[in-house]
Symmetry: C2
Subunit: 486 residues, 2 copies
């Protein structure tokens, strides 16, 4: 994959967005003792995730919140303040920005408060302009207003007020044009069998200054970010966005949940962020050309992000489905069959002979091509051995393994048989253990050590389809590069 | 809805399948002390769910299993035996069937054992014929072979060996052509916020005698069954099936997860149960005409079944989306917008004025039509009041309510505000509380008392689409009936 990384300049000095994501000190203007307020939850989150820098709560009268000394205003904070998080209401924001400007050390501001240009009320549109002009003059970059803020798992920063979030380090970073969608993705991610945390996470709000293009670029250059996910409504300068995305996507997968698929969806998006969602078919085509992986649901976004982060890409499009259960295997085949870019693998005679030896007599091997119903009589060891055989077959680029563990198949034993094979494979293996609590421990063993697991065969199939499509895209880029050189 | 129930005869005497589902005594041939064996799990399940009839374990040497007296063979059981469950291997089955025939009281046999006609091996195809001919002569009906068996929650019968299943009474019954899919649906169902149990459940196996048509008919006549779900691969006598389904579907919704959507999926189905999945487009069209609700995933099957069982149908196709969060609202609108049969409601001026009064100033009301973004500032009470307003609007046939509860909105308080309104509404309300553990208690409150809840807006949208489609179908049937009368 290194062949794609040519001519990329690594910037070592602190880049502008570092003042947000890698801030060494944070002042929270509008800190609160009331657990129902955002200004309380933000502090709670910062402490819960273990932020390493300095935290300065600002409140006119309170002396301490969560044992942190409070300051009556920004001016009275003795130490350096790099980032301010502004939680006070709309019309109070300009005064805070002026204080920040006067300090001279503030480099970045996250404005949580809503009630600015998104209301389309002239007075409030003006208010946003005023805030921006103070910030620009003072060299302060602005996130928002009307945003939830950012998370950086590397230095344990969390300026959001999403409840109940724990952090765990992964190589997927996320950008959202909706705070609620972003927050619910956070919550979905941590409800995975092994809680999944984003490396960096950002909700952009009104994008008065920092926009999704700049964050995309920042993630593109971030060494800790290997996969980028995004919830997108629309953007004015779409050409610039696609230009940037196109550059990054040859190196890092970009997954986008883009709304505006139907007319009323587009209209709702326009009401929400004023975004023109654009003609969906055009987005669809341009995304494909640019190598962007378009996902349709929050689940597909998470599934695919996990797979890209934890598994190798298939080298080609020849997939093998290894199932212990007929019905779920067929459901999986149905989904794969609807995607013309994926083909079923052709197994060698040698592999077929070996599988006949390993599997119970009632197994259905390679009928249709690349499909193996191991039968419910296949035990833990047979699963592992059959997986080894198909992974060793040169005609196979990736494997989906499906099991609905019956009473005589222990999910944890099965997981322990499989985990090393999956972990050491140079080909992707997506495992689908159905269903529910009965298989949860098994899924945890696999997710902790090897790769993503699934509860529905269609989810595994769609994820493999996305992996094949990305592999095809990179192949095409390589070929084009080869043509240019010759 | 009673107007559809015309001319249906209620059968009160014991019908043939009653000897399975309502058996008063069950002998388990192949009972086992080994917890890894199906013959052990079946007894465990029967005891765990509290089967009310007599249980007779049969084992040549063991004296007791789970404190139940064992019998060396069928002949030595003193009491009446209505149903036998046969778990011993293939070639042992005919002898058991002969014993059953000799007893004279056995009316029904569930043959769990595999290795019959599904192997396509002539000797084993013959074996199945032999078993059938003994049964026919003795007047014993046969389920299977190669099946998981049945569940009836009403009399606490469970002949399956699916692990870890608890029973809870609901009005949805299920038929599966795959044991594993059927079992995983059971497990998915009990992992819902409020565990969901099927009223009756059956896996048909090889359908040597009892087939899906007969079970469908049985469920159709069953007063305890209000909704029928099915996993289907294919059937030889499709015309008979559709004829029966057409009769039932005017009274009870039939939901089918039918595979064979793609060519390789069809081929895999053929390998599995020998079913010809048929041309998918034809099935699709015929299902629509027959009023069958076709679902695409296990999730959609459960979601829609719950909604049909727990909620009134919309009277028309005019839907209102009430959301606390922009992004998830747009995702929902996108999905609805892709279905031409659903329209967005037109709210009256009065409703709009009331909503403006109730909701925070930054709410976006009726833009686009029928879409209300209440904004994140809408608290528990505002949710309830806004829901009451749109439900009272004559232009609204159904409501989807979406919330990603921020830190200052308590999911349980929200659920308590909403639950009575949802429960007492004559129009369907589908609530989507995103996401995960943070909202689980709230979802439980709503599911226990009113209707289904969702974690993804697309799932709520697809469920509402299925409800609108069914309402349209019933409307069409009424109109046709009206035309015939005039």
């Amino acid at each position: 994959m290194n062949s794609y990384k040519k001519g990329k300049k690594k910037v070592v000095s602190k880049r502008s967005l570092d003042h947000f994501f890698n801030a060494e000190s944070v002042a929270v203007i509008g800190a609160s003792k009331d657990p129902g307020k955002a200004g309380n939850q933000i502090l709670k989150n910062m402490l819960a995730v273990g932020y390493q820098g300095k935290i300065y709560p600002v409140h006119p009268t309170v002396e301490k919140i969560f044992d942190l000394k409070c300051y009556p205003d920004l001016t009275s904070i003795p130490g350096k303040v790099e980032l301010i998080v502004v939680v006070i209401p709309d019309f109070g924001v300009p005064a805070v920005m002026r204080q920040a400007a006067r300090r001279g050390d503030v480099k970045a501001a996250i404005i949580i408060a809503a009630g600015f240009s998104e209301t389309k009320i002239p007075e409030r549109v003006e208010l946003e302009k005023e805030v921006l002009s103070i910030a620009k003059e003072a060299g302060i970059r602005v996130f928002g207003p009307n945003c939830v803020g950012i998370i950086n798992t590397v230095n344990h920063l969390d300026t959001t007020f999403a409840p109940n979030i724990r952090q765990s380090f992964r190589e997927v970073s996320f950008i959202s044009q909706s705070g609620a969608t972003g927050a619910s993705i956070l919550m979905f991610a941590q409800d995975q069998p092994v809680p999944f945390g984003f490396n960096k996470w950002a909700h952009v709000g009104n994008m008065s200054d920092v926009d999704i293009i700049e964050i995309l670029k920042y993630y593109g250059e971030d060494e800790k970010t290997k996969v980028i996910g995004m919830y997108m409504e629309g953007i004015e300068n779409a050409a610039d966005f696609l230009d940037e995305a196109g550059k990054i996507s040859v190196e890092k997968p970009i997954l986008i949940l883009k709304v505006g698929r139907s007319e009323i969806g587009s209209k709702a998006a326009e009401s929400h962020t004023g975004s023109l969602a654009g003609v969906d078919l055009i987005y669809d085509g341009v995304f494909r050309q640019t190598g962007i992986t378009r996902v349709m649901t929050i689940e597909e976004l998470l599934d695919t992000a996990k797979a890209f982060a934890m598994q190798p890409l298939p080298r080609g499009n020849r997939i093998c489905v290894l199932t212990e259960a007929g019905g779920p295997g067929i459901i999986c085949m149905d989904e794969i069959g609807l995607c013309p870019q994926v083909t079923m693998a052709t197994l060698s005679q040698k592999s077929v002979a070996k599988l006949e030896e390993i599997l119970p007599p009632m197994a259905i091997i390679n009928r249709p091509s690349g499909y193996i119903d191991m039968s419910a009589a296949a035990l833990e060891k047979a699963h592992r051995e059959a997986l080894e055989v198909v992974l060793a077959d040169e005609g196979v680029d990736g494997v989906i393994l499906i099991t609905v563990p019956p009473t005589f198949l222990q999910p944890t034993l099965l997981a322990r048989e499989l985990v090393e094979v999956v972990k050491n494979s140079a080909k992707p293996v997506l495992t689908c253990l159905m269903a529910g609590e009965w298989v949860k421990e098994g899924r945890i063993i696999l997710e902790e050590n090897s790769g993503p697991t699934f509860d529905l065969p269609q989810r595994a199939a769609r994820t493999m389809i996305n992996m094949v499509k990305r592999s095809n895209f990179l192949q095409r880029i390589m070929e084009e590069a080869g043509c240019n050189e010759s």
